[in-house]
Symmetry: C2
């Protein structure tokens, strides 16, 4: 019991030593005169070999065990080393066998089954790998912004009025008053530009989406950044480019095994990322794609896919900025393009043919906000708290929001965003 | 306009150069033949000197401006340098004067006024400093755990049943179904010990606290950690000790100005932090404090204060672990102390005489959960999703949760937790 605990991935550097490994029994293979136990811990798999030893009958897969024994070199074992002739201790047996075979290389169960049994199925190396990539991405996002003078903030998730429109928010009973779950930290991160100039937040946002699709969730993680003293949206696009490069670098450095397991091909992030104006993008599609999107105020999923392929062909890039979206389809705080009436300084970033990030320059003068709200026929009183920030001097600013689960899904090739969302929430799912 | 932007804190290393500073007009002082403008940016204050130049009449405080000019050494100016004879550009004027004078060294407004005008008052260096300390603390928390093999997780904030008891949760209409805001990530972080062994989360938690006190909020930021393969709660206490040391180190390294401004005296984190058993703590109080808490199942605020002073006297420590809290007052997942019936392996950490962290070892065997839930007269079906994790093999584990705002309030000496909470939510406050 006194041997030090060594992780599975470290066994190779302890050959000849007495060590302790601990984890879950991933697989038991009983041959005639030898039994192999594969123990899974947070670092990977360790092979334990028992010869001429009776294996306890209740030693089923997912039992939590520890093995103390000598490390010997073995070219057959994962990591080139195994533990021989160990002393075994059962730390915690399962109450019943796992509903899915976690030791099989792939998970064959259907997604609803996988999600219903998430506390167990997430233990499967393939599923788990997605969340390692997700965690590394968040770390890379923060590191890139920390290095650029940003301050992290924590904003309210319960708000007195809906952020951008009342259509898709969750209502909550707030001590008898009506309130809502925040659908984005947009208003607060803008206000905090007035305090710290450069801020970010990594936190949950809530959308009461009645859509039952592979890309919508009721809760997701939004990686939000906002900063001041910009010239226009191109400063925001340049910052986002650097942040994405930081996220890719963090995934590359922190989770080598997970990316290999999932055959993740990390994108090259060009500097700068190529861009095309919304109107020109529609023109390109009309000229070559076989349909004519001109006149539409937004891009369709088919438009996005076509543009994604076009960017690879034309620029050798899996990333493409589409700039200048029509003002009519963007939130009221979007800054117009002074040189092209009707168009905005808002952009989308397409990644592998799908919108991944929305961003842009925002309005920053108090009077412009009053005019924009009036133009939408809304009452500025509803935005009273928000408008305070602009009443007392705000610099030109802008920002962006990356949907973490969408990012991870695109990176790993997950067909459904739920595969890379921890205990997803949707129209039909509130548990586990 | 082409001069590079330099931050206020960097002026001293640009003497003799032409630079651009940009920020908010913090203070304007017009003397007979000279005007001083103090510009505030994210790094601090910069002094700009205008001689024989008419200052625009509408240049009021909180105007966003930039000044391009030459940096000259000046022993009178903040940072030992100032900008002389600049060319000024007004980037964004305020619509009206600020409701509070942000240039005064202290904020004299009452707390409700400060909070009502948070987008503006947060710009005051004293208020802002608390949030810099808060951000540095979170970064230190993560860095300490990243270095120890933890994985960051993002868990659901909308749950199908209340986490620990139904008393203080917010109800939400979830697509017509009843649901609740998560009062802690407890169940999810435990489940994830089965996947990653070591996990943490930094995120919002929600309590429908009907208390109108200086230490209760409806939303706060919980720094949660949970990990497996422990012997008992002492492993959790040792980990928490290292995490706190990491948080203090991060504050020391990242936010020197803010700690100086607020006269923050960072605590020494002893190794180990002294500990006293709950029963012994009550005995000490009974013997010396002038009241007898024995028989009470919990510590009162007065007990905590007395123990805080005792720890300083006896151990020279501002931190004290109280271990072995009676099982009756701890959540059902708390591990009992096998050697002292009725007592638990749960602990509180007192910091400067107030509870800051709660933690402990948890139950880990499926059967023990069924028994604990039955003993409280509850239906295990209610905990179905949660219990899955334990059904299929879980190691001995434990963890803790640090209330970020409480931590920052204790560190900065804030009398009310709302001073260090960004846009606080309480019984009476839902905006801004």
């Amino acid at each position: 019991m006194t041997a030090i605990r060594v992780l599975a991935s470290e066994l190779g550097s302890h050959i000849g030593q007495q060590v302790r490994v601990a984890g879950w029994l991933h697989r038991k293979r009983e041959l005639k005169s030898v039994t192999f136990l594969i123990i899974r811990d947070r670092s990977g798999l360790a092979q334990v070999v028992l010869r001429e030893v009776a294996v306890p009958a209740d030693l089923t897969e997912e039992t939590v065990i520890q093995a103390i024994g000598q490390v010997i070199a073995s070219s057959q074992a994962p990591g080139g080393a195994e533990i021989s002739g160990p002393q075994l201790t059962l730390l915690s047996p399962p109450a019943e066998p796992s509903p899915v075979d976690l030791y099989r290389p792939t998970l064959t169960a259907a997604l609803p089954t996988v999600l219903d049994h998430a506390p167990t199925t997430l233990r499967h190396p393939l599923l788990r790998a997605g969340f390692e990539i997700s965690a590394a991405s968040v770390a890379g996002f923060r590191a890139a912004l920390d290095a650029r003078g940003f301050t992290e903030i924590q904003t309210p998730k319960i708000v007195g009025s809906a952020t951008e429109s009342g259509a898709t928010v969750f209502a909550i009973d707030y001590f008898g008053q009506p309130a809502y779950l925040a659908q984005s930290p947009q208003f607060y991160k803008q206000a905090m530009v007035g305090v710290f100039e450069r801020v970010y937040e990594t936190g949950p946002v809530f959308r009461a989406e009645p859509h039952d699709t592979a890309r919508h969730l009721a809760q997701y993680t939004s990686l939000d950044a906002e900063f001041g003293f910009i010239t226009d949206h191109h400063d925001v696009m340049a910052m986002l480019r650097d942040v994405l490069a930081g996220m890719v670098a963090a995934v590359r450095e922190r989770v080598r095994c997970a990316t290999k397991l999932l055959d993740v091909i990390l994108p090259q992030i060009p500097d700068p990322i190529p861009e095309v104006h919304f109107a020109d993008a529609q023109g390109l599609i009309a000229a070559s794609a076989g349909w004519d999107p001109r006149g539409e105020p937004d891009l369709s999923p088919a438009d996005e896919r076509w543009l994604g392929e076009w960017a690879v062909r034309e620029h050798g890039s899996e990333l493409l900025y589409v700039t200048g979206f029509p003002l009519a389809k963007r939130p009221f705080y979007t800054h117009q393009d002074p040189e092209r009436p009707g168009y905005s300084r808002g952009f989308d970033l397409l990644f592998r043919g799908m919108e991944l990030v929305t961003g842009g320059q925002r309005l920053y003068r108090f009077g412009d906000y009053l005019a924009a709200i009036a133009e939408r026929g809304e009452d500025p009183a509803r935005y009273d708290g928000y408008l305070q920030a602009f009443r007392y001097g705000m610099p030109p600013h802008g920002g962006f929001a990356i949907g973490l689960e969408r990012w991870t899904a695109r990176l790993t090739g997950a067909a459904n965003i739920r595969e890379v969302t921890l205990f997803p929430r949707d129209l039909h799912r509130l548990s586990p």
